[in-house]
Amino acid sequence: MAAATERVFACMGVRDIQIGLAAREFSAREVAEASLARVHALDGATHAYLETTEQLAFKAAARVDAAVAADDLTACGPLAGVPVAFKDNMNLEGAHTTCSSAMLANYVSPFTATCVARTLEAGGIPLGKLNMDEFAFGSSTETSAFGPTRNPWDLARVPGGSSGGSAAAVAAGLATVTLGSDTGGSIRQPGSFCGTVALKPTYGVVSRYGVVAFGSSLDQVGPFTRSVEDAAYALNAIAGRDALDCTSQAVDTDFTANLADGVRGMRIGVVPAFMEAKGLTPEVKAKVEEAAEHLRALGADIVEVELPNAQAAMSAYYVLGPCEAFSNLARFDSVRYGYCDPGHKDLGSQYEASRAKGFGPEACRRIMLGSYLLSAGVYDRYYYPAQQVRTLITQDYASAYEQVDCILAPVAPRTSFAFGEVSDPTDMYLSDMFTISINIAGNGGMSMPVGLGAETQLPVGVQLISPQFKDENMLRVAAALETVYGPAPVAPAFAPGQPYPEGSMVDIPDAADAVPGVDLPGLLTAEGSFGVAHQASSAAQRGLSERLGNAEAAPSQVEKAGE
């Protein structure tokens, strides 16, 4: 027991946890209890979590402990005993899935997303659900209806977004692996801002079933971790064909296999136009150049490649994303689930009031934009050409990959910014200028932490971009960089042994009145205060209960991290 209390499991890597479990130095139950206690103690400072899932965590831990007792830990899967958490756009049966929106504040998932189910099947211990920009519209997590997440490296700054909670949780050592989703940079940019490994696989590698859709042809799920190896373990767990998602693909790669191979003989591309881009800050540029130098020193060929049409990716993205979002968000209409504005005698006014109050301003903007861009006459001017531009960008990458195995690029033009610093929507959109073309073409891309920026002393990530379905290439390059920079550290204020982080109560503008007119449930304050106690029925489709074994009765109550 003494050993257990000294360790901070959520700050450990996958392999160390499993070595400790196998050696019976601690139990998965202890991992679950200690990790949840740490979240309850420290998350008030970061607000990465929207909800903790004690019952599910203990149930998962019981399964791992049973495997340990049977001397068969590997049977549990690659994430056995690992504290994990999920972006709150991923359905987990019996837990809330709010998408950080007032629209879904009371929504309890009756089914589980495939990526979540696979993480749990792999033995992951689910700590809870993570904050995000509302419906993933944003690059700062400031649009969350439940208040923003703070960057663990500087609590006055944003963690990036939209998967800000997923990045912050890993950076603060509040989980070992988290999952996020990336439509235009929503995994990679917060990964860069928070200094974590952050991987967006090739479109189709991970099933999107059960992940609330933003841009269906762009969305992809991927892990946040503090080491490349952990990212590979996580990807091994979640990748592969899912009969419930037509766009998911069979994957038989072991992503850990080539991590130790080094980069000697690899050809790595840099894109001059990216390096000269307006808005790229000198400290980020310097970090990319430094990483290139290290890779050259490790034996890689650094080759200049052109992506002549990449500059059109931004406008193509802001056509395709909103069009798909408009359609995907049409279902939130106050009838089957979601916010329903009371007192309306006719459906039209109930629709309009519920959607106006349920959706935040950025969601409204994207829906309206998509509705306009898809309308008769306008479609041919924007939507169709955007899909043609997608062809050109895809061809650009295809020709680049005739010369190189992987591309090195900036992730975001700058390091994390302060709350409220970027308020104009079109300025905010520039955060994704280096990440968007990868979603348009459907390639794999990841942010690899390479230390702190010289000027701001905040984390910087470099982007590694793989050809489609060659995600192992970028992981191999990332592993080589890791030999130089080391694994990503837990943010200093959250490192084990530190006192409660200072400055955690910084004022964040407009956080309190994020959702005028809507009475939110006790997500922010109360414990176990949800109105709906969901019974995971055996009849519920694609239920978790069977997969997780029969450790206990179904999870009966969802609990919430107190602040």
């Binding site: 929504y107 359609s327 209409d333 009838v335 005698k345 459906l347 898809l374 008769a376 479609y379």
Partner: protein
């Protein structure tokens, strides 16, 4: 309002149909594994996909795609090798995602046709065929011996999903108008639905009715739908416009809904044609609008005026993979095509020597066609000889009985093919008269007995013994010398009187044909 026949003298009606058919014979929905079942407890056949839960994704049912390709092949369509599913946005509570997954400009099945044989009374609505010789064509019609054939183009058949069902509360008779609230049941949501769109090639309500009927026969033969108009698994909307006879320009069309039976389809269109004619003749204007046929009030009423074209924000569904169909796959579906009604009718003409009319009407219903075929099998070497009387029995007596006994299936009656054949044989062998045959037919159905037994029981044996008949004739002629004289004086119509008297003497059991022959001989 003037009558349809009069209106059609001055005006040409231009009709196109949109026919929806649910693929009810499949086990599961279009995009999820929920069971297809009519009449279950509300919302018990639902899942994240068909409830449109956040994060759910559709996966198409392979059997549904096969079914629509079968439908396309059976209606002479081109099967498109490249097509996609699209999202068609409209916010309405019965559509759980608030967009319908459907097809775009290219459907699985394009450019088909069905040929309609219109005969008898149905052909009379078409008044513009005067002067056309048998075998001669004008426009899309060709004159036949007993009517005409109309070639009706099919624009497309596309695959989509049905919506949920709504019950409106607080208004009159469950109507949406005046309702204070509505209840939504998504059991039907996501049911595989085909939509067939015809070219505006139909000219009369009868043609529209016959097209719908023929399509239903085809779908039933394919086994892709139960085609129940009552339960709404087959539904029809019509587009109607009028133009003056001889005019080239189309008039403004209205869209007609709620024509949920063959009769309603005919009557709704007939009413709408007459209504439009009246409006136009009074100098009024037809508006592009959706109208609802109210069968109880026998009129159409406006549901909605379309001021501008609907803008459904149609775009390719990124969640669904495009289709690339190969010739091999299409051929493998083609190999599953059963014999279609037209082919069956041609075979009946060929093998059994039936007339085109008899063959066509026999195949109108699968059960009568099958019944006929079993009779022919049982008839063995007599098949060719008995085909015509069996066909007559089925087309006339059996059909009339089934029509009267609303909703009874032929298989559930006590008339088996063996009994029908026995009945026809008794008559063909002159054992009973045609009048007696009708009595036996009714008795078989009422009493569940074999025809021979009924004939025996009722002592119905027809007397064809020449000697016995001659004796009766002699007695009758002797009793009516004045009538004999009149007959011989030229009033040959009296033959009926003599036959009647003889039959009366023989208590109805004499062979009327034989009596007639012998009478003529004796009186001559």
């Amino acid at each position: 309002m003037r009558k349809l026949e009069e209106v059609l003298q001055d005006w040409e009606a231009v009709i196109g149909l949109e026919i929806h058919a649910e693929l009810t014979t499949l086990d599961t929905k279009m995009f999820c594994g929920c069971k297809l079942e009519f009449g279950a407890e509300p919302n018990t056949h639902t899942c994240p996909v068909c409830l449109g839960m956040p994060g759910a994704l559709p996966v198409p049912n392979r059997a549904a795609i096969e079914s629509i390709v079968l439908a396309g092949l059976a209606t002479n369509c081109d099967i498109e090798k490249h097509s996609m599913f699209y999202r068609k946005t409209y916010m309405y509570p019965d559509m759980s995602k608030n967009y319908q997954t459907t097809q775009g400009p290219v459907a699985f099945c394009m450019r088909g046709h069905l040929d309609l044989d219109v005969d008898g009374a149905a052909a009379k609505e078409r008044i513009d065929l005067e002067g056309l010789e048998v075998g001669e064509s004008r426009g899309n019609v060709t004159r036949t011996a007993d009517g005409y054939t109309a070639h009706v183009g099919i624009t497309r058949i596309h695959m989509e999903e049905d919506a949920g069902k709504m019950v409106h509360i607080g208004g009159g008779e469950g109507r949406i108008a005046g309702a204070t609230h509505s209840l939504v049941d998504y059991n039907r949501a996501g049911t595989p639905l085909t939509e067939l769109v015809t070219e505006p090639d139909l000219r009369t309500p009868e043609e529209a009715r016959l097209f719908m009927q023929k399509l239903r026969q085809v779908y039933l033969a394919l086994g892709i739908s139960d085609c129940s108009m009552e339960e709404g698994s087959m539904r029809c909307d019509g587009n109607v416009s009028l133009r003056r006879r001889g005019a080239k320009e189309f008039g403004v069309k209205t869209e007609l809904k709620n024509m949920n039976s063959f009769k309603n389809l005919h009557d709704g269109l007939a009413y709408e044609i007459c209504r439009q004619a009246e409006v136009l003749e009074e100098g009024g204007q037809i508006f592009q609008e959706t109208r609802h046929w109210d069968p109880s009030k026998k009129r159409t009423i406006v549901m909605r005026v379309k001021e501008t074209a609907d803008d459904y924000r149609l775009f390719p569904d990124p969640d669904l993979a495009p289709y690339v169909l190969t010739d091999e796959w299409i051929d493998s579906v083609r190999a599953k095509l059963p014999e279609l009604p037209d082919q069956k009718a041609a075979r009946f003409e060929d093998v059994f020597g039936l007339s085109a009319y008899d063959a066509r009407h026999l195949v109108e219903h699968r059960e009568t066609a099958d019944f006929f075929e079993v009779c022919m099998e049982l008839a063995g070497g007599d098949a060719a000889k008995l085909a015509k009387p069996v066909a007559n029995l089925v087309i006339n007596d059996v059909t009339a009985y089934l029509n009267a006994a609303d909703g009874v299936a032929l298989a559930d009656t006590s008339l088996t093919p063996a009994r029908a054949l026995e009945l026809v044989r008794l008559q063909a062998e002159d054992a009973i008269s045609s009048k007696q045959a009708k009595e036996v037919f009714a008795a078989v159905l009422d009493e569940d007995k074999d025809p021979a037994a009924i004939v025996e029981e009722r002592g119905m044996k027809q007397v064809s013994d020449t000697g016995a008949i001659e004796a009766v004739i002699d007695a009758v002629l002797a009793a009516n010398p004045d009538k004999v004289a009149q007959y011989q004086g030229g009033k040959t119509g009296l033959i009926g009187f003599f036959v009647g008297q003889c039959m009366k003497e023989m208590r109805g059991q004499g062979n009327p044909k034989l009596i007639n022959e012998l009478l003529v001989k004796k009186l001559g």
